[in-house]
């Protein structure tokens, strides 16, 4: 079953020039996401599965599904480790 990814709450985020700039209110850490990362971040609403996000990334960018799933998994795991997103097996209501 595909997991769901949810944006963190104590963050400020602004899209500037196609890139998402994210600032943590906890420790002022700064994260800058490229276009693909920004697309994933924008889809991280807790209701869109990682599989669905991978499908969207394949449609929008020139990448095959297997590569997209692997890269997205690594990417969201990394963001989750930094507290920028959280992962859940359950879809948010």
């Amino acid at each position: 079953m595909s997991a769901f990814v949810i944006r963190g709450e104590r963050l400020a985020a602004r899209k500037v020039g196609g890139e998402m700039v994210i600032l943590s209110a906890d420790d002022s850490s700064l994260f800058v996401l490229n276009e693909v990362g920004t697309a994933i971040w924008e889809a991280a609403d807790g209701r869109t599965s990682l599989d669905a996000i991978a499908d969207g990334v394949c449609r929008e960018f020139d990448v095959d599904l297997e590569t997209a799933r692997r890269d997205i998994s690594e990417f969201v795991t990394s963001l989750a480790g930094a507290g920028v997103v959280s992962l859940s097996e359950v879809e948010r209501q």
């Binding site: 963050l11 400020a12 500037v16 196609g18 700039v21 209110a25 002022s28 700064l30 800058v32």
Partner: protein, 265 residues
């Protein structure tokens, strides 16, 4: 008991009154902030300072700023301060060193500026021809060097911490007294910000325009902000985005000679 004597420190038009009955501390404060003393200014905030002996606090404690509903608590290895924004007053317990009150004032100004659409920036800044220029970058990038190379018609606002505030005429840079042990005080002058430069060392002078995203990243990596407060974090990022949309920014690599100032305009 000796009476408290006020020392009013005016940075960016925000006057902070420091009250203490300790003659030694008054001497330290008046020396530390000499160019920024303004006895006739109406204080916006007032802090009562009490000296405590060395060793009162955990000297290894990192800076922490927290609080809720306008009551801030700031502490580090050399001070403990509380500040009630609504009552416009606070108290500081500190050891006898100028860096404790210097840090408290930096924090107070970052919080005031964050709410008002401004920021303190790790940057030197200077005024030439009525326009201000900001020079930011990591340690060793040349922030102090570039203002040290400034021609005689340039007024240095700071070689370490720049004060930027949103005013009717746009973003305005003000001089600051915030300096390290080897730095000089800036001048208490101000001017509208004309450009931001992200510095790097080079063998020749080269200037390239930064786009808005790069400018926001540069700002956010160098803005001083201490509080773990979600609303203020949001405001600071808003301000950085607004500044990036309004003020041109450049990457400036320069060799350390005064010809670099030919490219600053």
């Amino acid at each position: 008991m000796p009476t408290s004597r006020p020392v009013i420190v005016d940075v960016g038009g925000v006057a902070v009154q420091l009250l203490t009955s300790e003659p030694e501390l008054i001497y330290v404060l008046e020396g530390r902030f000499k160019k920024f003393l303004n006895p006739s200014a109406e204080p916006v905030f007032q802090f009562e300072i009490t000296l405590v002996p060395d060793g009162t606090f955990d000297v290894d404690a990192d800076l922490h700023v927290g609080g809720r509903q306008g009551h801030w608590i700031m502490q580090r290895g050399d001070f403990h301060a509380e500040w009630n924004v609504a009552e416009r007053r606070g108290c500081i317990r500190q050891t006898l060193n100028p860096y404790a009150i210097d840090s408290v004032l930096r924090i107070v100004h970052t919080l005031v500026l964050a709410a008002d659409g401004g920021f303190l920036l790790h940057a030197s800044s200077a005024v030439r021809g009525g326009r201000a220029y900001l020079f930011t970058g990591p340690s060793g990038a040349g922030k102090s060097t570039i203002v040290g190379l400034a021609p005689h018609d340039v007024t240095v606002l700071t070689d370490e911490i720049s004060y930027v505030k949103r005013c009717a005429e746009g973003y305005v840079a003000f001089g600051t007294p915030f300096a390290g042990e080897r730095s000089e005080l800036g001048e208490p002058a101000s001017a509208p910000v004309s450009a931001l430069f992200q510095l790097g060392r080079g063998i020749e002078t080269r200037r390239d325009r930064l786009d808005e995203a790069e400018t926001v990243q540069t700002l956010m990596r160098n803005i001083l902000f201490f509080a773990d407060d979600h609303d203020l974090t949001d405001r600071v990022l808003d301000t950085a985005c607004d500044f990036a949309a309004r003020v041109p920014a450049f990457r400036l690599h320069f060799a350390p000679d005064d010809r670099v100032w030919q490219t600053i305009q």
